[in-house]
């Protein structure tokens, strides 16, 4: 009966393909910006201040005469870089923590998980404020602040999934086959948690983009003259009445990127999760 009540949902994943395409565009632009942008995104030209779109400056210029398109392209690279490193940091610490806590399952490991939960009370913004004196404002500060918040996220996901996998019969079978707990973690637990981690990483990347934008908007992230979307928005704020375009461009860049990653995450979840869920059926 259960097979009948749940129609196969894997027929089509429109959000997966939309999301993948949008993300690919952003990644491509970011990569291109590393070697080429229409203009130098940091070059100021006071004679060209606040120009509207033209053949030379497709999206116009800002109040220092910098080319907005070039800045937006370079901003994509910075934004992706910061959140990618931050998520890698969160995974590198969180996944092993969750995995080992679940495999050993003692009272101390539970306590370690509780401690990691405490980090949920430290939003990236407040961590960035605290770390500012330590590292100074900049990309590194943003990466670490966002990364720290991601540690408990990945620890939770891994811990929860590993805990339920650990009691499953195939893990017992592997134990009866003489495998050590470490080998079981690597051979069975991690591969089965991996789809969940991929989905979570996509979602965290999109949250990372948002956090990075907020941090650089507040002056806690990437410092000028390096262009970043958040910084551009901060610059645009006083000019909203004069040149709303300056606020629209970076804002839409953020929305496009985050939307793409979210759609990709949703699509991946639909595609990858049912296989994990079927085990309970």
């Amino acid at each position: 009966m259960s097979a009948l009540t749940r129609p196969s949902s894997s027929a089509a994943h429109p959000s997966l393909w939309f999301g993948a395409a949008m993300t690919a565009i952003v990644v491509l632009i970011a990569l291109v910006s590393l070697v080429w942008t229409p203009q130098d995104p940091t070059a100021m030209e006071m004679t060209q201040r606040l120009q509207g779109p033209s053949a030379l400056h497709w999206l116009g210029t800002d109040r220092f005469g910098r080319d907005v398109l070039s800045m937006a392209m370079a901003g994509a690279a910075i934004s992706l870089q910061v959140s990618f490193v931050a998520i890698a940091f969160g995974m590198a610490l969180g996944v092993p923590l969750g995995l080992f806590a679940a495999m050993r399952g003692g009272v101390l490991d539970e306590a370690a998980m509780r401690m990691s939960d405490l980090i949920f009370a430290f939003p990236a913004l407040l961590t960035a404020i605290m770390l500012r004196e330590l590292f100074g404002p900049g990309a590194l500060n943003a990466m670490i602040a966002i990364g720290i918040f991601n540690v408990p996220v990945f620890a939770r996901v891994t811990y929860g999934a590993a805990l339920s996998l650990r009691t499953r019969d195939f893990v017992t079978a592997s134990r009866l086959a003489g495998k050590s707990e470490t080998l079981i973690a690597l051979d069975h637990i991690l591969p089965n948690v991996l789809p969940l981690l991929i989905v979570q990483a996509t979602i965290q990347l999109s949250l990372g983009i948002l956090a990075e934008a907020a941090l650089s908007y507040m002056g806690l992230g990437v410092q000028p003259p390096a262009p970043s979307w958040g910084r551009m928005l901060n610059d645009a704020q006083t000019l909203m009445a004069v040149a709303p375009r300056l606020a629209l461009v970076p804002g839409l860049c953020i929305v496009f990127t985050v939307l793409g990653l979210n759609l990709l995450g949703d699509g991946l979840r639909d595609k990858l999760d049912p296989r994990l869920r079927r085990r309970q059926a």
Binding site: M1, A3, L4, T5, P7, V107, A111, R168, D169, F170, T172, A173, S174, R175, L176, A177, G178, K179, H188, P191, N192, R275, R278, R279, A281
Partner: protein, 534 residues
């Protein structure tokens, strides 16, 4: 007088046929048993009568209930019929009740809905309804999680019969329960229907349960009723080949050689005790639960020993301890004359090489991300000397053949196989290291009856070929009689009775064994009784 008529009922969902023309009659006050394997459409039939089929289901045909066609009844009128004229009882008492509401409130809801009572009056009637289902000593203010499975099922029954419906539909009402609880719930259902004059449509996969309850039996397959008749004459007059096969499979006894001359035991567990303590950071739990309490057993080569008991009896915990999966708090394990300490890695490996396990649930016993071949050879190199890839492949192919699977199954993933095929592969995996003892933990209870019979035959064949010992954990006494030489009965962590299976079941000594035997539906005996009556 006829209460319910299903006339050529057809239902399809997204192009898949759920029901392909069901014809069935239920008379007033009659108990009709509907039997079928998974996917036969028996639950769908129940939902169709209630007009609760999944959304987007298209259906044709008639459902006449007291002369009224339910398929043509408006949803609002249907809501007035559900719960008042037809009561439905579900399989899973654990999930059928809302965990956030008291059981009393959930029963009272029916009275308020259908009889327009105020809350206080409804609670009075709720108390009476709970008394009626044998829950006189349970306060109505309890939450579902505070009750046992059997008690919850009684609550579900109280809800279904609250407004004295003319028809009760019970969909596998006892499948999730222990044998003795099952017997009590079936008794309750029988007495309630008889005393209230309601009709009962009892849906089950278990022919034995249905035969012991129903006035009439209908067998369902692929969305159709293939055989139907009064219980008295049913088993003597089956015409449909499937119905016949279902009966044969239900009473199937594999051909096996009973153990004649027992040799000295090779595996001895002495005085095993396993405690469950609540985890605490600071101090040891002063009153640990004795999950396994001073249990001793000895197994001889080639014998088949049954371990029977209800959930919570400690039989699974004992099995885990024997396999060295959990440490023993007390006691010793001796294998081939050597005392082994499962806390030591070397001893654990030694133990596992000779003692293997087949799980109950074939769906979870293989890693969904690994091929069957990969999973089967996991032990090689860990419990044995390293084995070359070509040797591995050869051994996998040989064992797959022995369990009746083609060699190409080695490359398949678990989700590409049926439950029965997976269970065969699981048996092949257990044989990989040439063990002396295989613990079979309810190896067929998750399988459909017809597949079950074939797996039992396979197990009997393999035992003859490999002269391996089986420790057969089960709750099913009919099965126990069919496949074991000797039986241990476990209750509350202790072995309360043991002896040759046939004698133990025919002349149980311990009160618990007697209760188990009395509660177990015995289809062959029942059928024999019916036929001598005729």
């Amino acid at each position: 007088m006829t209460l319910l008529v299903l006339d050529d009922l057809v239902a399809t969902l997204d192009g898949a046929a759920l029901l392909r023309g069901v014809n069935l009659r239920v008379a007033q006050g009659e108990i009709v048993g509907l039997v079928g394997e998974s996917g036969s459409g028996k639950s769908m039939t129940a939902l169709a009568i209630m007009q609760l089929l999944p959304e987007r289901t298209a259906s044709t045909g008639q459902i006449l209930f007291g002369g009224r066609d339910l398929t043509q009844t408006a949803e609002a009128a249907m809501c007035a019929i559900r719960g008042r004229d037809i009561g439905l009882i579900f399989q899973e008492p654990m999930t059928a009740l809302n965990p956030l509401k008291t059981v009393g409130d959930q029963i009272a809801e029916s009275f308020m809905l259908h009889e327009g009572l105020a809350y206080a009056e409804a609670l009075d009637k709720t108390r009476a309804a709970m008394d009626r289902v044998g829950l006189a000593d349970i306060p109505a203010t309890r939450y579902p999680h505070e009750l046992s499975g059997g008690q919850r099922q009684r609550i579900v029954i109280a809800m279904a019969i609250a407004c004295r419906p003319k028809l009760i539909i019970a969909d596998e009402p006892t499948s999730a329960l222990d044998v003795t609880t099952q017997a009590q719930i079936l008794d309750l259902l029988r007495s309630i229907t008889r005393e209230s004059g309601a009709a009962l449509l009892l849906i089950s996969h278990d022919l034995a349960v249905v035969a012991s309850m129903a006035d009439r039996i209908a067998v369902m397959k692929d969305g159709r009723i293939v055989e139907e008749g009064a219980t008295r004459s049913f088993f003597g007059a089956m015409r449909d080949p499937y119905a016949h096969a279902l009966y044969e499979a239900s009473v199937h006894r594999p051909a096996r050689q009973p153990m004649m001359n027992k040799t000295a035991p090779f595996f001895v567990a002495e005085n095993c005790t396993r405690l469950y303590r609540k985890p605490s950071l600071f101090r040891a739990d002063p009153q640990p639960l004795r999950a396994v309490d001073h249990v001793s057993l000895a197994l001889s080569p080639g014998e088949s020993v049954g371990l029977v008991g209800e959930s919570g009896s400690g039989k699974s915990t004992l099995a885990r301890a024997l396999l060295g999966l959990d440490p023993l708090d007390q006691g010793t394990l001796t294998l081939d004359g050597v005392v082994l300490d499962p806390a030591r890695k070397q001893d654990r490996l030694r133990l596992r090489r000779k003692v293997q396990l087949v799980f109950q649930d074939p769906y979870s016993s293989f890693d969904p991300r690994r091929t069957i071949g990969w999973s089967m050879t996991e032990a090689l190199g860990h419990l044995t000397e390293p084995v070359s890839e070509s040797d591995k492949a050869r051994r996998v192919a040989a064992l797959l053949e022995q369990v009746g699977l083609a060699p190409d199954f080695a490359g398949r993933f678990p989700h590409e196989m049926s439950g029965g095929q997976r269970q065969r592969a699981a048996i092949a995996r257990a044989l990989m290291t040439d063990p002396e003892l295989i613990v079979l933990d309810e190896p067929v209870s998750a399988l459909d009856v017809s597949i079950r019979a074939r797996i039992l035959d396979l197990l009997a064949d393999l035992q003859a070929q490999h002269s391996v010992t089986y420790l057969f954990i089960t709750h099913d006494l009919t099965l126990l009689r069919a496949v074991t030489d000797r039986t241990l009965v476990m209750q509350k962590g202790k072995i309360v009775e043991e002896g040759p299976t046939a004698r133990l079941l025919d002349e149980p000594q311990h009160p618990y064994t007697q209760a188990l035997v009395a509660a177990s539906p015995d289809l062959p005996a029942h059928v024999a009784g019916l036929q001598s009556d005729v």
